[in-house]
């Protein structure tokens, strides 16, 4: 009753990207869009290659179909890293115990029960761009005349990223314990898991002083720890011959803390992403990952806002934290009903516990299109607070200048919001036409359903935009919304036929 399963293999990944483009501006003949017709031409040819070679093996042991142990070992080589750092070996081991099958005397209500334990490491080059270890030069596509009128080449070091020849692969180590239960003949199901994931040496782009000549550099960023619990519960409250109601709910709570960056000094920080306008995302030792930083309103010891002699808001001397942009709670509820071939379900989901910087609201504020800018539209604004001497502010500031400081002083405080939401995510309604089909009909089953997605915002805290909108997809720009296409609601029909 012992089973052994061994697997070994190799894998090779190769990616090549070729880019050929010519950008042309300033046309000679109007409305003729050809390369030849442009006065200014900027041709680009790019070529990049990357490869990952891997060998791996795994072994699975099973005992009497209720105890399973699985182990793997893998070695990866990344072409993007230097010779000394390109290889990484990482193992995993997991076990599961189906206790409902292990004992003869399990109670009748326990349909299925399983306990699992796992430990896994994974290595990666964080998809770092090829050639990130060396500085390269580009020759400008156009020549430039010297004093004598002779055309001469112009060239420079490409890009604003300082190359780092010492990058190492990152490693993620994850431990997980889980319990899966099915009770009362599948009327109640429960799946619980708790995990801890430690990530070391993640390759990230850290902003540096541009007085160095460069804007950022790639570093291996120390260690961060992610801990969380998640649960899934499935209940079937009503189940009769014709009618069934199934309720599923899932929720997870998850926090990632930065343990170290270049050192483990609490408060050490690196800036990993900057908003198109103002505000930035930082990793800070001892804090949750993804802190939104920027200038806030300057306040005195009593918390009163301070205004300048011209009545305009002053900003903090330093950038301050506005909290993490990463949600702590994520989950949803689904209710599914079926009655004699008719089915109906709706899903409500939520994300909670994250802050958000809204670029759309930022633009609205500085252009006077936002509701908060209405006050003082006629006759100016007197800011509620004190002046730099601590006296009550009485200076009337013009409303336009009062709000334009969000841009000129990079003041993001008015456009930071709780980014959480509750949404009616999806409704589906369907009917199964199968039973109406003649017995000899070539189609075996037909099912038609109506599906609506992103149906209704139940609760949100951010004005004017959907909290799910964003400007750019990047882990380094989480929570930094900027003007993009609005999210959409979709309505559609699904026809499912089997032959």
């Amino acid at each position: 009753m012992i089973g052994v399963d061994l697997t070994a293999g190799g894998n090779q990944l190769y990616r090549r990207s070729d880019l050929n483009s010519v950008q042309v501006t300033d046309f000679v003949v109007r409305d003729l869009y050809t390369v030849q017709n442009g006065r200014v031409k900027d041709p680009i040819y790019g070529l990049s290659e990357r490869a990952v070679n891997s060998v791996y093996g795994s072994a699975e042991l099973s005992f009497k179909r209720f105890l399973y142990v699985n182990g793997t070992l893998r070695n990866d080589w990344f072409s993007t890293l230097s010779e000394a750092n390109r290889s990484i070996i990482y193992p995993s081991v997991s076990g599961s115990f189906v206790f409902s099958d292990a004992f003869a005397s399990v109670p009748k209500w326990l349909t299925f029960g399983k306990l699992r334990l796992a430990y896994a490491e994974v290595g990666s080059d964080t998809d770092v761009a090829p050639y990130s270890d060396v500085l390269f030069y580009g020759i400008n596509a156009n020549l430039f005349a010297n004093g004598g009128g002779v055309l001469q080449p112009v060239g420079n070091a490409i890009g604003n990223t300082l190359p780092n020849p010492n990058l190492r692969p990152m490693r993620t180590a994850e431990s997980e314990v889980g319990l899966e239960l099915k009770l009362f003949n599948n009327r109640l199901g429960l799946d619980l898991a708790a995990y801890q994931r430690t990530t070391t040496d993640q390759i990230i782009s850290a902003q540096i002083s541009d007085a160095s000549g460069f804007v950022n550099t790639l570093i291996n960023s120390g260690e961060s720890q992610n801990r969380g619990v998640e649960g899934l519960i499935t209940i079937v409250p009503i189940q009769t011959a014709g009618f069934q109601w199934e309720l599923t709910a899932n929720a997870s709570y998850n926090i990632t803390e930065v343990l170290s960056l270049l050192t483990d000094t609490p408060g050490e920080s690196i800036t990993v992403g900057t908003h198109v306008f103002n505000g930035e995302l930082r990793q800070v030792v001892g804090e949750e990952i993804g802190q939104i930083y920027g200038f806030g309103y300057r306040k005195d010891a009593q918390g009163r806002q301070i205004f300048g002699a011209n009545g305009l808001p002053l900003r903090t001397q330093q950038l301050i934290s506005f909290g993490s942009a990463v949600p702590k709670w994520v989950g949803g509820f689904n209710n599914a009903f079926s009655y004699k071939g008719i089915s109906l379900s709706f899903l409500i989901d939520f994300k909670l516990g994250n802050q958000m910087l809204s670029g759309t609201n930022f633009n609205a504020v500085r252009h006077g299109l936002h509701k908060i800018t209405l006050e003082g539209r006629e006759g100016g604004v007197v800011g509620n607070g004190v002046n730099e001497k601590g006296e009550v502010n009485t200076v009337v500031a013009p409303v336009q200048g009062y709000w334009e400081v969000v841009r000129s002083q990079a003041l993001i405080e008015p456009i930071i919001y709780d980014g959480g939401y509750w949404k009616l995510r999806q409704i589906t309604a369907g009917y199964d036409f199968t039973k109406l089909l003649p017995a000899q009909f070539p189609v075996k089953s037909i099912r038609l359903s109506f599906v609506a997605n992103n149906v209704f915002m139940i609760k949100k805290w951010i004005p004017n935009i959907d909290p799910e909108s964003f400007g750019f997809t990047s882990d380094n720009l989480v929570g930094l919304e900027s003007t993009g296409l609005p999210t959409t609601r979709s309505l559609g029909f699904n026809l499912n036929a089997k032959f």
Binding site: M1, I2, G3, D5, L6, T7, A8, D26, V40, E49, N53, S54, V55, N75, W77, S79, S87, P130, D133, V134, F136, Y137, G138, N140, F144, A145, N146, G147, Q152, P153, V154, G155, N156, A157, I158, N160, L162, Q207, I208, S209, D210, A211, S212, G213, F214, T217, I270, E280, G308, N310, L312, R366, A397, P398, Q400, G401, E404, R407, S408, A410
Partner: protein, 506 residues
């Protein structure tokens, strides 16, 4: 117990672990971008980027009241005497990222190569110029460690006191200019002077003169000694030796790009500047200005309404925002504020207009002041006249339609003679005109000399406590990522605002 062993191998390992990285060195080699190029091409990039960014219109050129915008938002700056950090950072970003990054690289690549010693010294001169602009703009800036991200892996450079920077810049300029040697290989690919050693030497000594004169308030002895050394070394005396960036359609003039792009209808010549030129019948007014007579809107600024007739030019007064200026324009009998005079974007501010970095006009006027102070020998009036004449003659190199006839120059000089009793004011007011569009230099010389005498901008909502902006503020990115070094500079120099005076301005 029945034992069942299921054994499978999906893939046999046919290669050894060593073979797993075979070819990776070749694969990780960039096939389209070289790891080194002739360093003179890198210097060429630094030369072109030394041309002043469009942001100088918002601050420097506005602070000295030559060009102003009534509009706010990204154009907030000298017009309202307010701190707009999006623009105050423009010199910083331009000179560190696009000039010093390259000059440090060139110097690093050729410093041990005797065959490229001229290139080395050319790069040192160009770099000193960039650091001088940065120190003049902000005060204390990263100097000894600045721009060394690649050459020394310094990612968070320390700031140096402006006095330390100037002391070293003077040594650098003097030693680099002296070390240029026409008997060594010539860098003919250079786009500034085609490698002409005599011209590069004159540029080096002219910058040395500029650095020396800058210290006239802070350290007169050092100023005199430096100016004297520069004069003996030989400075630019003719427009043929001017240092300029010859912009073309591919490498565009930053001010031209701003004034021919989104901001075409937003910047106007200032009333005081226009009136100064008008009152002295200065032929340069017709070379600089255009007025779209009767324009009621931006789109109405059409060629058929354009006039460069000096008599028709009307400058915009300082101190109004775009709602305030409408009433002022109406009171002056203008169709709208679009009816005020502008810098002509089809001539002096066209996309491919040259940008002058260091000129004979500026250099001769500095010598006039030096002679007035008794620091160099020669007649003050001769230097003065040469300087003014050189700048008027320079007009034609912007555009043939801006050229001034020789008789008009003579007539102007006769009508506006040098008055020794009024020497410093007259010389530095001419320097103000001669440095038009060289924002960093005109701003620095205004702070140093106090001339021309300008009426403080009366805009009511100013951020500053004094009458004029005395420096620009550091970029927010520095306060964010290089905060401890910035704090050290602030504790030494004074608050990071528009009021703090830099060392040579105390």
């Amino acid at each position: 117990m029945k034992k069942l062993i299921h054994y499978s191998v999906l893939v046999l390992l046919l290669f050894t672990f060593n073979a797993c990285e075979e070819g990776f060195d070749d694969l990780n080699e960039n096939k389209v971008s070289p790891t080194s190029i002739n360093p003179v091409f890198i210097l060429n990039d630094a030369i072109i980027n030394t041309s002043f960014p469009g942001g100088t219109l918002v601050y420097e050129i506005g602070i000295v009241q030559q060009i102003v915008s009534p509009n706010s938002g990204v154009l907030t700056g000298a017009n309202y005497n307010q701190d707009n950090r999006n623009v105050t950072s423009s010199n910083w970003q331009r000179y560190y990222r696009s000039v010093i990054k390259s000059t440090r690289d060139v110097i690093n690549r050729v410093q041990d190569d005797p065959a490229r010693s001229n290139l080395l010294n050319m790069a040192r001169i160009l770099q000193a110029n960039a650091f001088m602009i940065l120190a003049d703009t902000y005060g204390d800036v990263p100097y000894l460690e600045g721009g060394k991200g690649f050459t020394a892996q310094i990612t968070l450079p320390k700031y140096d006191a402006q006095q330390v920077i100037y002391t070293d810049l003077i040594t650098e300029l003097q030693s680099a200019a002296a070390a240029l040697d026409a008997s060594k290989p010539i860098e003919s690919a250079d786009v500034l002077y085609a490698g002409d050693i005599a011209k590069w030497k004159k540029l080096g000594y002219s910058l040395l003169l500029r650095a020396g004169m800058r210290l006239s308030k802070a350290d007169a002895a050092k100023a005199q000694q430096t100016v004297s050394a520069a004069f003996q070394g030989g400075v630019i005396t003719s427009n043929a030796d001017n240092a300029l960036v010859r912009h073309d359609n591919n490498f565009q003039n930053g001010i031209g790009a701003t004034l021919n792009g989104a901001e075409a209808n937003n910047f106007y010549l200032v009333q005081g500047f226009v009136n100064y030129l008008k009152n002295t019948n200065d032929p340069r007014l017709g070379a600089i200005a255009v007025r779209y007579v009767g324009a009621k809107s931006g789109p109405e600024q059409r060629a058929d309404k354009a006039s460069s007739d000096p008599a028709l030019q009307i400058g915009m007064p300082m101190g109004f925002d775009n709602s305030g200026i409408a009433g002022v324009a109406a009171a002056e009998g203008l169709a709208s504020f679009y009816d005020y005079s502008q810098l002509d974007r089809t001539r002096m501010a066209k996309l491919n207009a040259p940008m002058f970095l260091v000129t004979a006009a500026q250099t001769q006027l500095l010598l006039a002041e030096a002679a007035q102070r008794g620091w160099v020998s020669g007649a003050v009036e001769t230097f003065y006249t040469n300087g003014v004449r050189a700048h008027i003659e320079q007009m034609g190199s912007y555009d043939p339609k801006s050229a001034v006839a020789p008789e008009a120059i003579d007539a102007y000089l006769v009508a506006n003679p040098f008055v020794p009793a009024n020497a410093l004011e007259q010389i530095n007011t001419q320097y103000w005109v001669a440095s038009f569009l060289n924002g960093p230099e005109v701003f620095a010389n205004f702070r140093r000399s106090g001339f021309p005498v300008l009426t403080p901008n009366p805009f009511p909502g100013k951020d500053i406590k004094g009458d004029f902006i005395r420096r620009l503020t550091y970029p927010d990115s520095e306060i964010s990522v290089n905060s401890s070094n910035v704090q050290e500079a602030i504790s030494r120099m004074g608050a990071d605002d528009l009021d703090t005076r830099v060392w040579w301005d105390k």
